[in-house]
């Protein structure tokens, strides 16, 4: 070992001392899944009990609210009821649309799912209005108190 090599070795030793590990690293792994959540509040009650003479019975309305969170694009909400309405009686639902989405307006509900809100894209919004309407023709006659379950489904987002 000559003097030059010795000095170089000493320099390396000094540098190594100054550069000793003063850092530590961690790997953080993460992901965000597709999220589609809707919620409805209220159990509206609808009673038809009057009419203007010469016209069909007056419709009844009731309101509730709904909320949505989706981080997907172009999702939609469909609605259906668990069993058909009595003959001559019609139940509708009208959901207010959150920002950027489209409401189908007052939509007749049946046992087949129908679109009630479309074009739902990356939105988190609550306190949205939902209005139910009940109408009946005179031919429906007297209909005893009964209930239907409305099922809302959010689907189709990408």
């Amino acid at each position: 070992m000559n003097t030059t090599r010795l000095l170089a070795t000493l320099a390396l030793l000094t540098a190594a001392t100054a550069a000793q590990a003063q850092t530590a690293t961690q790997t953080v792994t993460f992901q965000v899944d597709a999220i589609n959540q809707i919620a409805f509040t209220g159990s509206p009650s609808l009673v038809i009990n009057s009419a203007t003479a010469g016209s069909a019975p007056a419709s009844a309305t009731a309101s509730g609210s709904w909320a949505i969170t989706t981080n997907q694009s172009n999702a939609k909400i469909t609605a259906s009821i668990n069993s058909a309405m009595p003959s001559g009686v019609t139940l509708t639902a009208n959901l207010a649309a959150p920002a950027g989405a489209s409401s189908a307006g007052a939509t007749t509900l049946g046992t087949t799912a129908v679109d009630v809100v479309t074009s739902l894209t990356q939105v988190a919004e609550g306190s949205l209005n939902v209005t139910y309407g009940l109408s009946a023709t005179a031919a429906a006659g007297v209909v005893a108190s009964q209930s239907r379950t409305v099922t809302y489904t959010i689907t189709g987002g990408t």
Binding site: M1, N2, T3, L6, T9, L10, L13, T14, T17, A18, Q20, A21, Q22, T23, A24, T25, Q26, T27, V28, T29, F30, Q31, V32, D33, A34, I35, Q37, I38, A39, W66, A67, I68, T69, T70, N71, Q72, S73, Q122, V123, A124, E125, G126, S127
Partner: protein
């Protein structure tokens, strides 16, 4: 004989360096490992997705004896996706101060400050992941968090 003389000279030269190293031993920092997967998968309808956290890892700091204090900084190797935030909270040793929960990015940011000398201790790390709906779906991703112990200004 000339080689022996050179060797003795080398040893003599090393002694002062070794002595300084003992007095000025650099502070060291290590971590216990990597946190588990941070996965956001649900929300309350009407609200932003629910954040998730992980508090399973720790860091160990050893400041040695120099008459100085130290800070710990943290930074990411790459930016987080838009709408996604990774925060870190690093508990502080006695006599030091944690800056609390702090959003991590590519800038080295103080997370613990004023660590006194003669500190050798282990403390918890908490990571939290949050996302807005505008982040959309984020596939499995990783970021490297670099913790650095630096002499306080």
């Amino acid at each position: 004989m000339p080689r022996l003389r050179v060797l003795l000279l080398a040893l003599a030269a090393l002694l002062p360096i070794g002595g300084r190293a003992a007095n000025a031993q650099p502070a060291t920092l290590s971590v216990s490992g990597n946190p588990g997967l941070l996965r956001i998968s649900t929300a309350v309808a009407g609200s932003q997705p629910i954040s998730v956290g992980n508090s399973t890892t720790t860091y160990t700091v050893d400041t040695g004896n120099p008459n100085r204090t130290y800070d710990i900084t943290a930074q990411l190797n790459a930016a987080m996706p838009a709408g996604v935030t990774l925060t870190g909270t690093y508990a502080a040793p006695a006599g030091a101060t944690s800056v609390g929960q702090i959003a991590l990015d590519q800038t080295a940011r103080n997370v613990v400050v004023g660590i006194p000398r003669r500190t050798t201790s282990t403390h918890g790390i908490t990571y939290q992941l949050s996302a807005t709906v505008l982040a959309g779906v984020v596939p499995l991703s990783t970021r490297t968090v670099t913790l650095t112990i630096v002499q306080a200004p």
